[in-house]
Amino acid sequence: MQDLSVRFYLASGVVNAVENLSFNVRKGVGFGIVGESGSGKTVTALTIMGLLARPPGRIDSGKILYNGTNLLTTSQEDMRRLRGKSIAMVYQDPMTSLNPVLRVCFQIAEALMVHEKISQHEAEARAVELMSAVGIPDAEKRAKEYPHQFSGGMRQRIMIAMALATKPDLLIADEPTTALDVITQSQILALLEDLQRKYDMTVILVTHDLGIVAQLCDEALVMYAGHGMELNTVKGIFSHSKHPYTRGLLESTTRVDKEISRLTSIPGNIPDMIDPPTGCRFHPRCPLADNRCARQEPPAFPQVSGGYSKCWRSEPT
């Protein structure tokens, strides 16, 4: 992704959802996009898929290169062929993301029928296999059931099965565990880890939970207010992040290995996206901010690891 800018043109104003975002994801890597709600991470994911609601939203600049092709300039028809086949997405809310009036096996089989032109019968058989692969017990029997007959965790598994049906090269997972309880969360994460290895997929994981990123990802991008603040390997982020926002996030998560006497959080609130702060978007809440931060937006300073850090403090001296 290079220099992506997405804005929403609403009656009440223009929302700068994503601004000048750039990052690279190599094949087979687990890539995390981390940020609070409203940071623009979901919009980024949707833009990759081409699922952005175009009337209010507009892609104002940038390129998304996938295997050499710019996704932003590909036709609707070609995008449609890619979607569900080579690039697939798992969505945030399993309760509302499945069609309530269609059988589960049909919904999983649908992508197969459209992209690989096989019969419904055959596709549904493959769907049953997929359902057991994602850990749904009694798959053969349950395949004929409807989404409302499954629990949240099961539905999420169904969505994963649905995304994996066509053995995509790239899987985008948008907060796949947010709507679930902790136990189910860990099960789903383990499942994702397992599947990624087995199918050798590239996974982009969008989340607000650093713990998940630690578990599943090799590299990560930290977003704030539509900007890519820090891009680094996961190890790099956790051990020596240069960016104050990332450090703030790290400090506010609870950790098993350190004793914590007080829960800290980053003071302040996420900015109003119609009228964001000038200069560095994080400066009102940043403990290290100075005048320059308020006036000028820092560029993305490249780091040793190959990533970058968008902060004046990370300026190489």
């Binding site: 993301s97 499945l98 269609l102 409302h148």
Partner: protein, 319 residues
């Protein structure tokens, strides 16, 4: 809940509603100045009939007994004696039902078919020219009094152009049931009735579809790479039309009310014009009976649509 349990529950609700209607009737009866005596006992009826009514409605008994007797009368078809026609109100009303059905059913079918079509056309490209045109069309007819539209149609087609018959259901000269003649008479009243109901129905369809198109599973469907056509017809439509089924049930009530006015304008010999005539003639037993029959028809159609909905929505059929 499973289908049988659901149907049973709905049927019970329907029965309860019928009882409520009966009670309502009873209450209104007693609210009327003069009470049930003046309503049921027309000075012109024979003493024998008078005695019969007194007895069967228990007008000389305490109110609880009257209530029970009234309900019993409802169920057994004893709805009082018409002033105007010297028959039981039940007979009078029952004889007019077929005519009303002959007007209502075609109108209902047309409303549904065209309404769904209009709704779909509007929604395929929301806020496009087609959509705004159809929506304006709907708003326009939604505020129109149905009897006015009827008059305009009547005056224009029947008087000015003399193309279509000016009222009634069948011509006096025909014997038996001539379909063509019936259809010729049907066109104008049905158009009036349908246009107005079409307006609100298509708006409901549109609104329901828009809500569905906003849902997350539509994004999921698109994300699978399905064509817009597939997404729309297979995913959106099936979900969007479900609430429409329910709304239909409520709609019948509206069509019935419209029928009252339309039948009057076109002298269509059904329940509607009977209502008008009975009100003019102060034939109260018939008026009450008519309300009762209208309610039953509405409750019945609600029940039918509820059941159909239950069959169509897997969330009810399974679990």
């Amino acid at each position: 809940m499973g289908l049988p349990a659901y149907v049973a529950k709905r049927a019970l609700v329907a029965i309860a509603l019928v009882l409520v209607v009966g009670t309502l009737n009873f209450a209104i009866l007693h609210l009327a100045p003069g009470g049930p005596e003046t309503i049921f006992l027309n000075p012109r009826i024979t003493p024998a009939a008078r005695a019969l009514i007194l007895k069967s409605f228990g007008l000389d008994r305490p109110i609880q007994e009257q209530y029970l007797l009234y309900l019993e009368g409802m169920v057994t078809g004893n709805w009082g004696l018409s002033y105007f026609y010297t028959e039981s109100a039940f007979n009078v009303v029952a004889s007019r039902i077929p005519a009303t059905l002959l007007l209502m059913l075609p109108s209902l079918i047309l409303t549904v078919l065209v309404g769904i079509l209009m709704g779909i056309l509007s929604v395929r490209r929301p806020y496009s020219f087609v959509d705004r045109f159809l929506s304006s069309f709907a708003f326009f007819f939604y505020s129109m009094p149905v009897f006015w539209l009827g008059f305009i149609l009547l005056t224009f087609f029947a008087v000015t152009l003399s193309v279509l018959p000016a009222g009634g259901m069948i011509s006096i000269t025909t014997t038996g049931f001539d379909v063509v003649d019936y259809l010729r008479h049907l066109i104008l009243p049905m158009t009036a009735l349908t246009l107005i109901n079409l307006a609100s129905f298509s708006l409901l369809v549109r609104s329901s579809m828009l809500e569905v198109l906003d849902q997350n599973y539509i994004v999921t469907a698109r994300g699978k790479g399905l064509s817009e056509r597939l997404v729309f017809y297979r995913h959106a439509l099936r979900n969007g039309l479900l609430p429409t089924v329910t709304m239909l049930g409520l709609f019948v009530g509206s069509i019935l009310s419209g029928a009252i006015l339309t039948e009057t304008v076109f002298s269509w010999p059904g329940l509607g014009s009977l209502t008008f005539d009975s009100i003019s003639r102060r034939d109260y037993p018939v008026v009450l009976a008519l309300f009762f029959i209208f309610s039953i028809l509405t409750i019945l159609s609600n029940l039918i649509t509820d059941v159909v909905y239950g069959v169509l929505d897997p969330r009810i059929t399974y679990d």
